[in-house]
C-alpha cells in the first residue's frame, strides 16, 4: 500500500505534471494581471481569456510540426540543425514549381497540388540526404553534418529564388494556402486550423511513439545504439527514416508558414526555427543525449511557450527580444532543475543511509561491550 502510494507520488512529480503545474500557475498569474489591468483602466479589453489565447497561439504553432520531427531526432541522440533551412528550400521549391506550372498554362488547382507534392518531397529529400550522410558517415556527428547541409540548403533556396520574394497575388488557387492560417469558429472560440492540424498530428505521433514497437525502437536507439543494433533492429533504416521524416515535417511547417505570411515566399524564411523547435522539444522532456521524452510533454511545452509569449507581450508589454530572453532562461533552467533535484535527492538519501548505518553500528558496538 505504502509502496503504491509512493509510486503515485513519484508519478505526480513527472515532467509532464510539472509542465501542467507551470502552465496553470502561469495562467493564474496572467489572469490576475489581466484583471488588475482592466481595473486600473490600462487595458482596453479582456486580453487574457481562453478564446483570445487559443486564437493567439497561432503564430507560435508555426514551428510545431518541425518540433515533432526534431524531437525524434533528439530521442535517437542525434540533432538536426538544418530543418529551418530545408523548410525554406522546400517552400522555395513550392513557389518556383507553382510559378513554372501556372506559367505553362496548367490550371491553378492542379499546379498547387503538384507543387505541394514537390514541396513535401523536397523536404523529405533534404532530410533523407541528412539521414544518408549520418548513417553513412557514423564517425561524423549529426551536428556537424547538418551544420554543413544547413548552409547548403539555405544556399540552394537563395539560388532558386535569386534573392527575390515570390508572391502570387489574387491567385485563387494559391490563396487556398492562406486558409491554413484561418480559424474555425466553434461556439465562442475560434480554433486555428493550424492548432487542430497540429494536435491531430501530435496525437498520431503520441500513439506511434509511445504505443508501437516502432516508437520503442527509436528510444532504444537513443539509449544504446550498439545494443539496439545487436538486438536485430535495423538501426540505420530507423535513423534514415526519422531524418527524412524530420525534413518532411519541416516542409509541412513551410507550407503553413506560406499560409501565415500571406503566400509570400522568400529564402530567408524560418531562419532559426530549428532552434525554437529544439528548445520546445527539450522543455517538453526530450534530452539531446537521447532515449528520453514524451509527445504530450512537447505539446505542453509548445503551449507553454505560446501562452508565455502572449502573456508577456500583451500583459506586461515585454518586447519581442525580452520574450526571447525568457526562452533562453527557461531552456537552461528547465534542464538544470531536474539535474539539481536529482543530485539533491541522491545526497539526501545518502545522508539518511549514513545516519542509519551509524545508528546500527553504534548499536553493534554497544552490544559488544
Amino acid at each position: 500500500m505504502m509502496k503504491r502510494l509512493a509510486r503515485s507520488a513519484g508519478g505526480l512529480l513527472r515532467w509532464e505534471t510539472m509542465l501542467i503545474a507551470a502552465l496553470v500557475v502561469m495562467c493564474a498569474v496572467f489572469d490576475r494581471q489581466d484583471a488588475a489591468r482592466q481595473v486600473a483602466g490600462l487595458a482596453k479589453k479582456d486580453v487574457f481569456n481562453p478564446a483570445v489565447v487559443i486564437k493567439g497561439l497561432r503564430p507560435y504553432m508555426l514551428y510545431s510540426f518541425m518540433t515533432l520531427g526534431i524531437m525524434l531526432i533528439l530521442a535517437m541522440g542525434d540533432i538536426d540543425i538544418s530543418t529551418g533551412a530545408s523548410a525554406a528550400l522546400s517552400v522555395a521549391a513550392l513557389g518556383v514549381v507553382y510559378q513554372a506550372l501556372t506559367g505553362a498554362g496548367i490550371p491553378g488547382g492542379l499546379s498547387l497540388a503538384l507543387s505541394l507534392a514537390v514541396c513535401l518531397l523536397t523536404g523529405w529529400l533534404c532530410g533523407a540526404v541528412n539521414g544518408w550522410l549520418v548513417t553513412r558517415f557514423k564517425e561524423l556527428f549529426a551536428m556537424i553534418i547538418t551544420l554543413a547541409t544547413q548552409l547548403f540548403y539555405r544556399g540552394v533556396a537563395y539560388l532558386l529564388l535569386g534573392g527575390k520574394t515570390l508572391t502570387f497575388k489574387n491567385d485563387a488557387a494559391f490563396d487556398l494556402l492562406k486558409r491554413l492560417y484561418n480559424t474555425v469558429q466553434i461556439g465562442d472560440v475560434s480554433l486555428p486550423v493550424m492548432l487542430i492540424a497540429f494536435l491531430a498530428a501530435a496525437a498520431c505521433y503520441a500513439v506511434w511513439v509511445h504505443g508501437t514497437a516502432g516508437g520503442r525502437r527509436v528510444f532504444a536507439l537513443g539509449t544504446n545504439p550498439k545494443a539496439t543494433l545487436y538486438s536485430g533492429i535495423r538501426a540505420d533504416r530507423v535513423k534514415f527514416r526519422l531524418f527524412a521524416l524530420c525534413g518532411l515535417t519541416g516542409a509541412v511547417t513551410g507550407v503553413f508558414f506560406v499560409g501565415a505570411t500571406s503566400s509570400s515566399i522568400r529564402a530567408d524564411a524560418m531562419m532559426g526555427y530549428e532552434m525554437y523547435a529544439i528548445a520546445a522539444a527539450v522543455l517538453g522532456g526530450f534530452s539531446t543525449s537521447g532515449g528520453r521524452g514524451s509527445v504530450p510533454g512537447v505539446v505542453l511545452s509548445l503551449v507553454i511557450f505560446g501562452v508565455m509569449k502572449i502573456g508577456l507581450g500583451t500583459l506586461y508589454g515585454f518586447a519581442d527580444s525580452m520574450v526571447n530572453l525568457s526562452v533562453g532562461v527557461i531552456l537552461i533552467v528547465s534542464t538544470l532543475l531536474p539535474n539539481l533535484l536529482t543530485a539533491a535527492g541522491d545526497a539526501l538519501r545518502l545522508r539518511k543511509r549514513r545516519a542509519q548505518a551509524n545508528v546500527s553500528s553504534r548499536a553493534l558496538t554497544s552490544g559488544s561491550i
Binding site: V207, G211, T212, A213, R216, R217, A220, T223, N224, K226, A227, T228, L229, Y230, S231, G232, I233, R234, D236, G291, D346, R349, L350, R353, R354, A357, S361
Partner: protein, 496 residues
C-alpha cells in the same frame, strides 16, 4: 621480508541503497603480492577505490608505515605512493605514451613542458621494465597489454610503493599474461607491494604470496597462498559448495545449422571455415586478438566479411546486418554486455522484449501485459535475481545482467547462438547458472558457438573445439579427452 607497509582497519563504505564495505581489514607487506578475491559485487573495487582515494570510507582507518593517513583524493593517494592500474586501462587515448606516463608531474622548463625530456625519460622507464614502446605514439594506438605496461611505467615514474592491479590479465592473451607476471615479479623483487585483483585462478596461484577473500562487502579471511587451493577459495567466495560446476550433458547432435567457408576479413581473419550443428556446443578459442570476436561479428552481420560464404540450414545466405542474422535464427551474445548487450537504464522487461517487440503487439499497439508475461516467464526460467521485471538493468549484478542478455535472445526463439565470452567478469555462482542454461538450450536442439578464453570452460562445456591463431583456424578438436596443453599448443603463436 620487510615489515607491514599498509594496514587498513574496519573499513566501512555506504552507497545509496547498499552497504558496499562492512568492517573490512587488510594488510600488505613490502615486496609482497597480495591477491584480493571475491565474487563480483563482493566489494573489491570499492575497497581498492577507498585505498586509492576515489571513495572516502565512512568509517575505519588506513595506516601507512604505521602512521594513520587519510586518502582524501586520488592525488593524495598518489603522493603517498599508491598507484592503481585499472581494469579498463584508464589512459588518455589521444595523448602520447610519454605524456600519459608523466601527466600530472611533467618536466617543466619555466612555465612550459619540456617534451624532449619527457620522451627521453619515458623511453628509459619503459626500457627498465622491458617494454618496447615508442613514447611518442598515441596510447590509443597500442594494444591493451601494452597500455597496461604504460600504466605500470607511469606508476613507477611516481615512485609508487603500492601498486594496485585490477584484473590486469582480463583482456590479455596467455602470452601477454606471462609477460605481465614477469614484470610484476620484477617489481616485487624491487620492493614494490602489489595488490592483485583477479578472477583467474592462474593469476592468483601463479603470482600471489597471500590471498584475502571478501564476500558481500564483508571480510572472510586471509591465507598464505600455500594453505588454500582453488576449491577452498571458491568455497570461501560463494560460501556454498559447487558440485556440478560444468553441468554438460551431451545432447543429440542433429543436422547442420550454420557453416562458413573461407570467410576472410582484411586485417582480422582469413580463410575461416566452421560449422555448428543442432544440439551442439562448439568452442571457439584462441588468444585475445586471434580474430574470434571478429568472426562472430561477421557471422552475425555486424561487420561485412570481404570473402567467403555463410550457410544457414545448408543454404548460402548473405548476412548484411544483425537484423538479417536474427531473422535467419542467428543470435549473438556480445562480449561487452553493458555496452553492446543492454540498455542499462531500461527495465529488465523492456530489455528482454526489445529484439522480439512485434510479438507483443495487439494490432499495431504494444501490450504491456503480454510483454510482462513473457519477461516474467524468462526471469523465472533463468532465475534472474531482481525485485521484479520493472527493475532497471543497471541495478543488477554482472551475472544477472548477463542472464538478461541471454533472456532477450531466448525470447526471439533463435536456433543458433553465438556466445562471446559468456562468463567473462561473471561471479562464480552466475557462471554455473549460465553453463546450465547452455546445456539446457543445447538439449533443445539449439546450436551454440561459444567463444571463450577460459580453457577449463572450453574443454568442459564444448562438444567440439576450434582454435584460432593469428586470424586463422589452426586446429579442430573433439572435446572428448581434450587437454589444455593441446589447445594451448594450437593457440600459441609459432615462434621464429
Amino acid at each position: 621480508m620487510a615489515g607491514t607497509l599498509l594496514e587498513m582497519r574496519r573499513i566501512t563504505k555506504i552507497f545509496p541503497g547498499v552497504k558496499a564495505l562492512d568492517d573490512v581489514r587488510f594488510d600488505l607487506n613490502a615486496g609482497e603480492i597480495h591477491a584480493l578475491v571475491g565474487e563480483n559485487g563482493a566489494g573489491k573495487s570499492t575497497f581498492i577505490k577507498a585505498l586509492a582515494g576515489v571513495h572516502q570510507p565512512d568509517s575505519g582507518e588506513i595506516l601507512l608505515d604505521g602512521r594513520k593517513v587519510a586518502m582524501r583524493d586520488p592525488v593524495t593517494a598518489q603522493r603517498l605512493g599508491v598507484a592503481a592500474i585499472h581494469q579498463h586501462a584508464a589512459s588518455y587515448p589521444d595523448l602520447s605514451v610519454a605524456e600519459n606516463i608523466f601527466i600530472g608531474h611533467e618536466f617543466m622548463a619555466g612555465p612550459f613542458i619540456n617534451w624532449r625530456k619527457a620522451n627521453r625519460e619515458a623511453r628509459k622507464l619503459l626500457d627498465s621494465i622491458g617494454a618496447d614502446i615508442n613514447p611518442a605514439d598515441p596510447v590509443g594506438s597500442l594494444s591493451v597489454a601494452r597500455q597496461q605496461l604504460v600504466e605500470i611505467a607511469k606508476a613507477l615514474s611516481q615512485n609508487a610503493r603500492i601498486l594496485i592491479m585490477d584484473e590486469p590479465t582480463a583482456a590479455l592473451s596467455k602470452r601477454e599474461s606471462e609477460e605481465l607476471y614477469a614484470i610484476a615479479r620484477g617489481l616485487r623483487d624491487r620492493g614494490v607491494a602489489i595488490i592483485l585483483i583477479s578472477h583467474r585462478f592462474e593469476d592468483i596461484f601463479g603470482l600471489a604470496d597471500r590471498v584475502t577473500v571478501l564476500r558481500d562487502g564483508g571480510y572472510v579471511g586471509t591465507w598464505p597462498i600455500g594453505e588454500v587451493d582453488a576449491t577452498a577459495l571458491v568455497g570461501y567466495m560463494v560460501n556454498r559448495p559447487i558440485d556440478q560446476f560444468y553441468p554438460k550433458v551431451k545432447a543429440a547432435v542433429g543436422k547442420e545449422l550454420l557453416r562458413c567457408e573461407g570467410l576472410s576479413r582484411a586485417g582480422f581473419f582469413r580463410d575461416v571455415s566452421l560449422r555448428v550443428r543442432a544440439g551442439e556446443i562448439v568452442g571457439l578459442t584462441g588468444l585475445v586478438g586471434a580474430g574470434r570476436t571478429e568472426v562472430a561479428q561477421s557471422l552475425f552481420g555486424a561487420e561485412r566479411p570481404d570473402e567467403g560464404t555463410v550457410y544457414v540450414d545448408g543454404k548460402a545466405v548473405e548476412i548484411g546486418s544483425p537484423n538479417q542474422a536474427m531473422r535467419l535464427g542467428v543470435g549473438l551474445l556480445p562480449e561487452d554486455r553493458q555496452a553492446e548487450g543492454l540498455l542499462l537504464p531500461w527495465s529488465i522487461k523492456r530489455n528482454i522484449t526489445l529484439p522480439s517487440l512485434d510479438r507483443y503487439a495487439r494490432g499495431a499497439f504494444l501490450s504491456d501485459g503480454m510483454e510482462r508475461t513473457a519477461a516474467r516467464g524468462l526471469r523465472e526460467q533463468l532465475a534472474i535475481k531482481a525485485n521484479d521485471v520493472e527493475t532497471a538493468a543497471q541495478a543488477l549484478s554482472g551475472g544477472n545482467q548477463q542472464k538478461v542478455v541471454v533472456a532477450k535472445l531466448l525470447a526471439t526463439e533463435l536456433r543458433i547462438l553465438i556466445l562471446d565470452e559468456p562468463t567473462k567478469g561473471v561471479d562464480v555462482g552466475s557462471k554455473a547458472a549460465i553453463y546450465e542454461i547452455m546445456s539446457e538450450l543445447a538439449g533443445k536442439g539449439i546450436g551454440i558457438l561459444m567463444i571463450s578464453s577460459e580453457m577449463p570452460e572450453v574443454i568442459n562445456m564444448s562438444d567440439r573445439v576450434y582454435v584460432m591463431r593469428e586470424g586463422r583456424v589452426s586446429a579442430e578438436f573433439d572435446a572428448e579427452g581434450l587437454t589444455q596443453s593441446r589447445v594451448l599448443e594450437a593457440a600459441m603463436p609459432l615462434e621464429k
